[in-house]
Point group: C2
Chain length 335, copies 2
DNA sequence: CATTCGACTGGGACCGGTCTCAGGTTGTCA
DNA sequence: TGACAACCTGAGACCGGTCCCAGTCGAATG
């Protein structure tokens, strides 16, 4: 009489009844099947197959205290990541890595102060098991909040000021910048400028360090401009740089390199004939830009995979740790 | 004795105790505060403020049956959306719209068959309240699954073959294509080709329809190539198209337009002097490309906002409905 | 004065899992 | 033969909320 409307999703009790065992046994089967007799296990598995049973995530989370999800937290102000192609690569990689582990990815955006506040509250409420933090700035209060809340966190790029407290997946910024600088020198350039990123980001600070180290005596302080990784800032920086004598420029992001190329063109310079311009990231933009941009490739797939792996370790109780990955020089037409 | 370790998050019972009321009353205050005396409400609010209490989402979901989250479902095969800048815009807009409603966004990727299977299971398990489906192909089995499961869904772009069953947020593809075609004609072009998208996507099919309608006698079947919205396909299509006499090309995506520009350049043609090339989407790429790409702007912010709004309506019980938004011609240098 | 109504409150069942624990078999070893 | 371990099982408490319902109280109504 009441079974007629077999609409509702089956619960663990129904599976238990159908398999002729207790809820506990069904639960054991679901979670690895240890200490379950072959007979019982088979009965349960058949019942699950027959009904298409799926455990209710919310109930499970309530009971275990584990959320079964990780947050992908973006902190850049609106327009910057808005059209940053790199974060999409990270996002996708992370989503796939999580799906393989039957976990879900929750996207969190903490741009405005109001958003940051509600995100902090959300995280401290324990709605997710851990956080993948994308692109942080030094002295970002969110970093302190994350540490205070004590939620497992892994950063993409060294979190300046909190290097020891949080896990990090990053590339060797200094070495990468040296590689690119060496490439430009090897191409015969001598007046080499750099469009650095913000000094409060690891990519802004350490790529400049590597660049300076490698250039040595060739380094010229007047040929350093700063941008914010965006196309517009690259364009503006390059416009200023062109007032000096310069024959090659290393931009700390592909987008800034694209902006720099545009600025050079507007000034009547040809790229790379009159001036070589290189980028950083190897975001999709680099290969398809006109001309294709010489850049340092960041291993996005490895970064996202490692972020998930390390974060899960930390959630499981491990201490924070850092992973440094290799970059690769990709020579295209622009430099 | 046991209160010493005041580490754990406060529960609704503790708030109730602290405020001197029952759990029920606290629950009422949290959910709108109807039928609660001013005194009780104030006591509860003070207790919440003092403890920093936040409701446990999982417990709430378990009790209410509502998940409090929406899925953002990507279905394109790997490399296509991989570097598609447009989906990032949608994603961000959706995330913000949801955050304002205290809901969360879960990112789901259904590229491989295995992923599609687990995604379908995930959705039918009711782990989210609704689905925002991005870029679907006709006869995609996922569409049937969504409909069968009966989960509230809103599509970005008309879901070919299921126009009536699912809610849709889209732009007027035909009118948009006509606008662009008219622009090219007005520029004096007569031999106008089109690089269309896949015929099983609304943008592939209807942009071609509008293009053909507008051109009328100028339309030449031999000047139509098909791509898959990617840079590479645009490049290949343009390479073929250059075998014919053509003085303008309308590509159904900015990425294909970029590819087409590259192909034209390789063939020694100048853009736009020798051949005009226009795109579609106004993804970030269009403005910063060299030359900047003339394109039809899709109102990404409106699209994402409407997706969330309509989806919530449907979840609340409304019938599926469709919203058609306006596009805007953005004239830049390429055409 | 009895009745009814509306505002307000708390008790307890319930959502669907997990997990601890006590207990029952069976087999092995002293 | 008894002790003990290893394997297997189910009962019931518990996670932290929501919500139905019964019940109280004061004011308005008849």
């Amino acid at each position: 009489m009441s079974d007629v409307s077999a609409k509702r999703k089956p619960t663990i009790r129904q599976i238990a009844a159908q398999a002729g065992v207790s809820r506990s046994t069904v639960s054991r089967v679901i979670n690895g099947g240890h200490w379950v007799s072959p007979d019982a296990r088979q009965a349960v598995e058949e019942a699950i197959l027959a009904t298409g049973y799926t455990a209710n995530h919310h109930a499970r989370s309530l009971a275990t205290g584990r959320a079964g999800s990780l947050a992908f937290l973006l902190t850049e102000p609106q327009q910057l990541l808005f059209d940053d192609p790199t974060f999409a690569l990270l996002l996708r990689g992370a989503a796939e890595a999580l799906a393989q582990r039957a976990m879900t990815l929750v996207l969190l955006v903490a741009g405005t102060p109001a958003e940051r506040e509600s995100v902090a509250q959300f995280l401290s409420a324990g709605h997710v098991d851990g956080v993948m933090l994308i692109s942080s700035h030094e002295s970002d209060p969110l970093l302190d909040q994350l540490i205070e809340v004590g939620i497992p966190t892994v950063c993409c790029g060294v979190p300046l000021g909190h290097e020891r407290e949080l896990s990090t997946i990053s590339v060797d910024e200094v070495a990468s910048a040296r590689t690119m600088a060496a490439h430009l020198v090897a191409q015969g350039h001598r007046r080499i400028g750099m469009i650095a990123g913000p000094d409060d980001t690891p990519g802004g600070r350490y790529r400049l360090v590597g660049f300076r180290d490698e250039l040595g005596e060739l380094f010229d302080e007047t040929l350093v401009e700063q941008g914010d990784y965006s196309y517009e800032s690259g364009l503006a920086a390059m416009t200023r740089m062109l007032e000096h004598d310069v024959d090659a420029v290393f931009a700390a992001s592909d987008r800034m390199a694209a902006g720099a190329i545009a600025a050079a063109r507007r000034a009547g310079r040809r790229v790379p004939e009159d001036i070589a311009i290189a980028g950083f990231d190897d975001s999709g933009l680099a290969a398809t830009h006109e001309p294709p941009i010489t850049t340092m490739r960041q291993p996005w797939d490895q970064i996202s995979a490692q972020m998930v792996a390390v974060l899960l370790e930390v959630i499981a109780g491990a201490s924070p740790r850092s992973v440094i990955l290799d970059t690769e020089l990709v020579v295209r037409a622009s430099a």
